[in-house]
Each structure stands twice: as structure tokens, then as C-alpha cells.
Symmetry: C2
């Protein structure tokens, strides 16, 4: 079945032939599913150009196919192929597709608590996020929030700490941010807007055209590897770090709960393992690709600079106010935020010792060449 046929079936019936095994499985006893193949669709919130993030879903599905000798087979669809990227969660939720691969902060309009499972300003780093998910109660909470939308949750990817964006001039104080029209990802705008930035939401492919027309005066995307491909260095020469709003952004794989629940145990175990492997693989890919792209950007005349302390401090203060405010209105957000922050704080108390002193020594010895 071609992609076109597949799309037409999906458009016609909510789920086409490719989804029928899933539908049959959820309508029959689990035993029937055990004997049979499972075919399903994964709608990605991302374009193929983000090969590392988009690729996380493909990695997971390739591994699932390999492990099951083709018995379990999920097809990944890029943003716009079946539904627009920001509708990926809806598509899995209502059964248009069986699974979504997305960053849950894209969907905070449904519930702010969702953002906690991707990244919120001053959240944990990648290791802290992964540890919270698997050994700190994070994934149980993610499932509690996702169940509201008929979804099940698996962590499936992490970008690590991201860069703080591209600017015409170096930002020397919080006053330099005022009046910027900056392309931003969703939830971070809640903190950057009170700092005087006008947030603009644009998908990846639309950022450069908007910058060329002068519709935005600054932007943030991911990090060196992804940013270089989109060519931002041609218009902006000052590259900030760190993105205090993306300290360790997590991607999520969210199957439709009604479809998922009756699936056989071996399928569930493989799916879970594939998502864990893909998480590790995405972070490793970024850790391998970002340094090369960073060097390349610097050769092209890009100057990196650290966001000044007054920017960080103001953002931190606004974030704390924001979380208190949302918590007072949304008990589920309060519950998730309380779990995350308690875990995060213990994490940093521990990482402050061996991890950070080891890495700062190594950076001074080996990482200070640029």
C-alpha cells in the first residue's frame, strides 16, 4: 500500500486498513491479538528535516520491526502527512492514528501539566528527566495526565540542553530582550513574554522566510546540528546559551489507550524497550552531531555567548511565579510540578558533587579550545 493510498484510507475512515489489526485487536480478546500481526500508524509532530527528533520515532519502529521479525510494524508519518504536527496528539487521542510521537509541551493548551513531561523553564536536565520518568514516579504521572486524553505515555527521545537562540546582537542585559519579536516554542513564551519579548510561533520551515522578511528579529530552534541545517547563521551571528526553557527536552510516544490496552504482553514489552533504546540513541546522536556542527558554525563566523545572569535570574523569578499561579488553579499541574521539582532538586544536590566537578575539570582540560 502506497503512502497515498494509506493517507486516503486514513482520511476516509479515521483509521484505514493499516490500522485494522489494531482495531480488531482492541475489539477482540487479547489472545487473538497474540497470534496475529499488528500494523499501526505513528503520527509525528515533526518534519523529516529534524532527522534526529523525527528519526527517534523511526528508530523505535525499526527496532520493533526487527525484534518481532516483522510481526509488529508501525509506520511513521511526518508532520502534515496525515495531520499537521501540532494535531499529532489529537490524532492518537481520537483514533485517527494509533500512536503519536511528539513533545508534550506543544499541547499545553489541553492541560499545562503536559508541558512538564517535555520541558518547562528551569526543569531537570536530560539525565534528571530520564531518572524522574523511570525511577521518580514521573512516568506514572505522565500516564495519569495522558489518560485524560485516552493516551498512554512512553518517553521516547531527549535532545539534551538546547541553545538559547539566534540574535542580531549579543544580549548583554535583560533590557536588550525588550521589543524583540522572537520565534519560540510554545510554553516558554509564558516566561519570555513578561520579559518584554513578543513570542511568534512558526514551524521550522517558515522561520528563515519570516526572518528574511524582517517579521522576526530573533529566534530559537534546537541546537547546532538542527540550527545549522536551517541556515540561521546567514542572518544572525550571535548564538546564545543556554536555553533555560529547554534544559533536557523529552519526546514522547503516546499510543491511543483503548487501542493499547488489549495488545499482547510481548508487543508491549518490545514497544517499551524500543522507546527506551530510541531515547538513548537520540541523546547520543545529538551528543555526536552537535559538536561537529558547533565547530562548523564557528568557522562560519558565529559568535557564541552566555545569557547574562540578570536574564537568567529574571526568567527564574517569573517562572516560579508562573508555576505558583498555575498550581493554584490546576491541582493536577500542582501534583506533577511538585513531584518534578522535588526530584530535580535532589538530582542537582547529587550532581553538584561528582558529575559537575568531574565535568568542569574535564572541560578546562579538554573542552576549552573554542
Amino acid at each position: 500500500m502506497s503512502n497515498n493510498e494509506r493517507r486516503n484510507f486514513l482520511k476516509m475512515g479515521g483509521a484505514g486498513l493499516v490500522g485494522m489489526a489494531g482495531i480488531l485487536a482492541s475489539g477482540q480478546a487479547p489472545a487473538a491479538a497474540t497470534s496475529g500481526k499488528i500494523r499501526f500508524d505513528v503520527v509525528s509532530a515533526f518534519p523529516k528535516t529534524l532527522d534526529t527528533i523525527y528519526g527517534g520515532a523511526e528508530d523505535a519502529m525499526n527496532l520493533l520491526r526487527e525484534m518481532s521479525d516483522g510481526k509488529y510494524d508501525g509506520t511513521v508519518h511526518a508532520a502534515g502527512e496525515i495531520v499537521p504536527g501540532l494535531k499529532a496528539l489529537d490524532a492518537a487521542s481520537d483514533g485517527t492514528a494509533q500512536v503519536a510521537h511528539t513533545a508534550l509541551y506543544y499541547h499545553f493548551d489541553k492541560d499545562d501539566a503536559l508541558a512538564e513531561f517535555a520541558s518547562i523553564p528551569f526543569g531537570p536536565d536530560a539525565r534528571g528527566m530520564i531518572a524522574w520518568m523511570h525511577h521518580g514516579g514521573g512516568n506514572e504521572l505522565a500516564n495519569e495526565v495522558c489518560a485524560k486524553f485516552n493516551l498512554v505515555h512512553f518517553a521516547c527521545g531527549n535532545t539534551g540542553a538546547q541553545m538559547g537562540g539566534w540574535f542580531k546582537d549579543e544580549i548583554r542585559s535583560k533590557d536588550d530582550l525588550k521589543g524583540l519579536k522572537m520565534r519560540l516554542g510554545g510554553f516558554a513564551g509564558k516566561v519570555l513574554q513578561p520579559m518584554g519579548i513578543q513570542p511568534v510561533t512558526l514551524p521550522g520551515g517558515d522561520i528563515m522566510p519570516a526572518a528574511e522578511k524582517g517579521l522576526i528579529s530573533a529566534l530559537e530552534w534546537v541546537g547546532p546540528y538542527d540550527d545549522e541545517k536551517l541556515g540561521f547563521y546567514k542572518l544572525f551571528k550571535n548564538y546564545a546559551y543556554p536555553a533555560f526553557w529547554e534544559g533536557g527536552t523529552q519526546l514522547s510516544m503516546t499510543p491511543n489507550k483503548k487501542w493499547w490496552d488489549p495488545q499482547p504482553a510481548d508487543f508491549k514489552a518490545m514497544f517499551k524497550a524500543a522507546c527506551m533504546a530510541a531515547t538513548q540513541n537520540m541523546l547520543a546522536k545529538y551528543d555526536a552531531k552537535n559538536p561537529i556542527a558547533l565547530s562548523s558554525l564557528m568557522v562560519k563566523g558565529v559568535k557564541v555567548f552566555r545569557l547574562p545572569k540578570d536574564v537568567m535570574d529574571q526568567a527564574y523569578y517569573i517562572s516560579e511565579q508562573l508555576y505558583a499561579d498555575i498550581s493554584s488553579k490546576n491541582p493536577l499541574f500542582a501534583k506533577v510540578h511538585n513531584s518534578m521539582t522535588k526530584f530535580r532538586d535532589k538530582h542537582y544536590q547529587w550532581h553538584r558533587l561528582a558529575e559537575q566537578t568531574y565535568n568542569s575539570y574535564m572541560t578546562n582540560q579538554r573542552g576549552n579550545r573554542i
Copy 2:
């Protein structure tokens, strides 16, 4: 079959009934193996008391069993159950068992290059190690070195940065190290000995008895979670960080190559995914358990201190000399070391920006409570 029977079979024939599926598989066409169950033994280099490290092998094997619905089933044996911990690699190499789970620096007497795949002084941190393995050519090199011993290599676990050990008094300069009789893990002794330390090798269970008898005057083991269980804080109150010899120690799963090669593709894919999931899970477990144990140790009167710069600098200098010396005699070590250090340096050049500045800001805001 009981563990005793299993052991007897293994002693008698090199591989018992439990290994027969593997033997049959390697003697027959791969297609025959596809239809059949695979039963095998994993010899761990670790005692069960190291539940996080030892547990990494069990996590991987539990996941394999779950994914294959019991078709593929590896039984993990603690150190001493079939062979002593330090003989784990030999056991997989000569077919006494099918697979070993170990830290490859235990076996540097076979080839110093093996140590690079666990940890050497001033190696990469956990993320750097994982990225090097999967996207920097590290695992290809590990397979090249392991093939010399009839083994295949999979990363299967990482402890993160470890603590620098337990001392009677705080170490204030490199002179304070001179004359210490210190329990140490293998390869690190090559650097610590020239600093005036007398290295003593002891398995976990023998450390406290030796300390009580005054046979050692300092020791290092892993980190807060493992160290607290062994009770070192009862005799030593000064706890150093970081272990510059264990910045991100990796565990390895090494199947016997002759047994592994003819196994079916789905088994291989599941085994690989299980090891990747176990790697992530081990690091997450340590990241969740270490902070709690650290707080508990501090309540018990333990004082943490950072190893002084002159200790780090002397160790760094000695390490560089050591690596140059080994490289001049061992081309395989030179090849592996060159690959690792190039990758590590780029890693730190990149992590110096977003990762380290984000984490140092968060540590100041949230991690400085102790």
C-alpha cells in the same frame, strides 16, 4: 533445573543442558534456531549486593524474556556462582557460559585496550561514553578488541561519575595521599600508585573486614547508594569527589562470538535493545538512589570534600604519560585511545556551552542545600 544442577552441568561439560540450545544453534543453520527456544547463561562479575550494577544484567534478561514471551531466556549468575567475578570474561570467552556481564577494566591484563570501554582516568562522562559507543565508532572498536577473545560487545549499563573514596582525614594536597594503603579498582592503580598510594585489590565483601583490621587506610567503591550499604561511613568520615578514574563507568555484556554469530536476527535485535534499555535504566536508578543515600550519609556525619586541584593535576599528568607509554607499545590501545580522546574532547567543547552552564545555574538555584 536447580542452580546446583546447572552448576554441575556447567562444570562437567563447559556448557550444560542450559547451554544446549545455544550449542545446537551454533552447529545448525540459523533457520533452525529461529524456530526454537534459546536458553543461555550470563555470568556476572558482580555480587548481588551491587543490586544496581548486578541488576543491570537481570533487567536486560527480564526484558528479553518478556519481549520474546519466554522464547529467549538468559539466566544471570552472580560472581562466584559459576566462576569468580574476575573470571567472568574468561567464562564467556571459552564457552563455560554464553555471555558475561562485566566492567572491561577488570580485564586489562589481557589487553589494556579493554579498559577504555569501561573507564580510564579522565575518560568521558556517561553521556560522552554512550555517544562514543553508538555514534562515534566506540562499539565497533570494542568489537574489534573483544573479537581477540572470541567475544561480541554490547554496552549494558553505566554508573555515572563515581565518588573519589573514603578517607580518615580530608585530603588537602597531593602529599596527603602518600603512604595510603587504598582499596582500588584495577586500572586506576596505574595512576594512583605513582602518586604514592599503595593500591589494594579487594572484592566488595572483603573491604570492611580489611578496614576494621587496619589493613587498608582508605578505599573507593562506587557512590553513595552502594557505599552506604557496605557501611564505610562507620570507619571513615571524609568522602571525596570526584573519582577522576571513573567519570562514567560503563558495564558490558559480552556474548561468546561463536555462540552469538549464528543466532537469529530477532534474538539479536532484542538482545541489543535490552542492553540499551538496561544502560539507561542503570543510570536512571543511580540518579534516583544516589541523592537519597547522599543525604542519609550526611545525616550520619559524613563530610564531603572536593579533591584538591594539585591532586587532579598530578593525576592528569601521570595519566597522559601512561597513555603515551601504553600507546607506544600497543597499537590497538593507541587506536582505541585516539578515537576515544578525539570524541571526548569534542564532547566537552560542546557540553561546555548549554549543558554545563544550564546545570551550574540550576545547581546554584536548587542543588546547593547541602
